[in-house]
């Protein structure tokens, strides 16, 4: 009998239901923690928003003061026999509550920019997406083939990889000023930063993954008469594709992390611009809303890519993927042994 009641099981998958529950919890727990800190006064709330300043000459209604200061001022007021202040304990402005961020999230998309001529929020987001896309796309167009070549031919590996290995230790941001000088202040240097940040890793990662191909498959193909080009396109690439695809998903995540650096190169644009702007207005709920949008885009894209991958590479699990069921008839055979 399998012991299904245990939650902690070494190297075993939990039942599907529990796995879903845990996935939900992984988002729900931080959210609950955030809500608790925001809505239960005793946990943190280190500041006081003044409702009635009383006779205080230093503070006005709506001011937010540190709770020690609030207490001190009230003691002074009481000593003078004056009317003292009342207020409500709150969290600092840089720690908005969930509902505030949710509201900001909606408002960010719905509300026009504060100044005429400034981009709408969604325009900033799209601008960011565009920069990441081009940086990642250009990097992949060069990096993927180069990496695969390095993985297959020692010639390219030895010629290219040592330098790439060296170059990847330069943090991409150090090329910011250079990129602007060469490419101007528009999007080109931003795309370049993302390119630099992604490309060198990409070559190495692709090369390594390609090298891990089960060489027995290559030899089997050779004994079937396959020549190098066939081996490359019909064996090595399809065999490493699932892992290459996974690598690409991870690299895309890295490209996103370079975005924030890239966007402040030259003229600040995109989500970074929005975030900086909102921080200046001390509208931190908007800042969080923008950060969340980045998270949603990242997680969303990755989830879609993962689903596509599961279907494309269903053969790994001995299943038919959605894409192959589209093109072929299904034969419902269960193998005997």
């Amino acid at each position: 009998m399998e012991n299904n009641s245990k939650w902690i099981r070494f190297g075993r998958l939990l039942p599907q239901k529990r796995r879903r529950g845990l996935t939900t919890a992984s988002f729900l727990l931080p959210l609950l923690l955030w809500a608790a800190i925001s809505y239960i006064p005793g946990i943190w709330h280190p500041e006081v928003r003044i409702a009635d300043p009383g006779d205080s000459i230093y503070f006005a209604q709506g001011d937010i003061v540190e709770k020690g200061t609030f207490k001190l001022e009230n003691e002074n007021l009481r000593a003078e026999g004056a009317r003292f202040m009342t207020g409500r304990r709150v969290n600092p402005v840089y720690f908005p509550a969930p509902h505030q961020v949710a509201r900001a999230l909606y408002a960010a998309f719905a509300a026009p920019p504060r100044r005429d001529g400034d981009p709408w929020f969604y325009e900033s987001v799209l601008h960011s997406v565009r920069v990441v896309f081009w940086g990642f796309f250009l990097s992949s167009v060069l990096g993927v083939p180069l990496g695969i070549l390095c993985g297959v031919f020692d010639f390219f590996a030895k010629l290219i990889e040592p330098f790439v290995e060296f170059f990847r230790y330069f943090p991409a941001p150090v090329f910011g000023a250079l990129a602007v000088a060469i490419l101007g202040i528009n999007d080109a240097p931003k795309v370049a930063i993302i390119f630099i940040g992604t490309f060198f890793q990409q070559v190495l990662v692709m090369a390594n993954t390609t090298r891990q191909v089960d060489f027995n498959l290559v030899e089997a193909a050779q004994t079937l008469g396959a020549r190098p080009m066939t081996l490359l396109f019909k064996v090595v690439i399809p065999a490493s594709l699932p892992k290459l695809y996974l690598d690409m998903r991870i690299l895309l995540g890295w490209a996103w992390t370079y975005l924030i650096v890239a966007e402040v190169v030259g003229t600040t644009t995109g989500i970074s611009w929005f975030i900086n702007q909102q921080a200046k207005y001390r509208a931190f709920d908007n800042v969080y809303a923008a950060i969340l949008v980045l998270g949603f885009i990242g997680l969303g894209t990755d989830m879609i890519l993962a689903a596509v991958g599961r279907s494309l590479f269903a053969w790994e699990r001995g299943e038919r993927g959605f894409f192959s069921t589209l093109t072929k008839s299904r034969k419902p055979n269960t193998p005997e042994s």
């Binding site: 004994t223 594709l241 053969w315 034969k331």
Partner: protein
Amino acid sequence: MDIHSKLNLPNYRQQSAEVTAALDQLKKQPVALEIANLTKEFPSDAGPRRVLNDVSFKVYQREFLSIIGPSGCGKSTLIRLLACLEESTDGLILLNKYPVRETGADRGMVFQKYTLFPWLTVKKNVMFGLEVSGRGKFDAEIEARQWLDIVGLEEYADLYPAQLSGGMQQRVAIARALANKPQVLLMDEPFGALDAQTRAKMQAYLLQIWEKIDITIIFITHDLDEAVYLSDRILVLKANPGEVQELVEVPVPRSRTPEQFLSPEFLATKFHLEELIHPGHIRSADDFKVVKMVGEKDK
């Protein structure tokens, strides 16, 4: 009294007229593969290590030749040299009198490890070699289906390798190799990873196929029963360095059936092979496990 006479086995060199005639017939066939003075050294820290030394033998067309020998004696190295998956240090390999230099579809191979392409369906796996050689998709598919029919897996054509059992995967691998119409089929312990029952089935399959089509088979195994059951002749290698010890002619008449496992000439051959590979290993009838099976059957 030595154990051989105690077991009351004939000399393995004694052949019935039928077997002699069949072997003479075989040796009149053109030579499919000639291996001449083949030597292979692998580099090592202590200088080159000679794994195969001056190996020479001939394989005739339509012959079923097994290669046996102690573990590490260079059987896999030898067969990989024949496929040109390794380069020889010295010596010649002639296929139909022409030296071979590169891997090619004329020498198909079935490996002990499962090497079906997991991203291709069974049918597409079998079509792989055909398409590589420039056959059109349509033709290739028809042929692939015929080969799958021969190995009895036609209805699994559209499944992926991960959906098949090990034995079925090896049958597909055999179909894939044969679909290419190689002149020689090289098999390196193809059934080594299978359980005894599946293995016996696979041996029967292989014999059936071999009888059906025009192919020369070189078959590595460490299972002596398997070697005797399948082969016309058995090349015995000795280790360090790998050299030809003896080329044994199997005195068991064809066509073979599992009952022959217990025939005197079968046991005599097996006994001889056992003595070649593990000299002095058989000290009592108990060490010779098939004899026990005879006893059990008598009960």
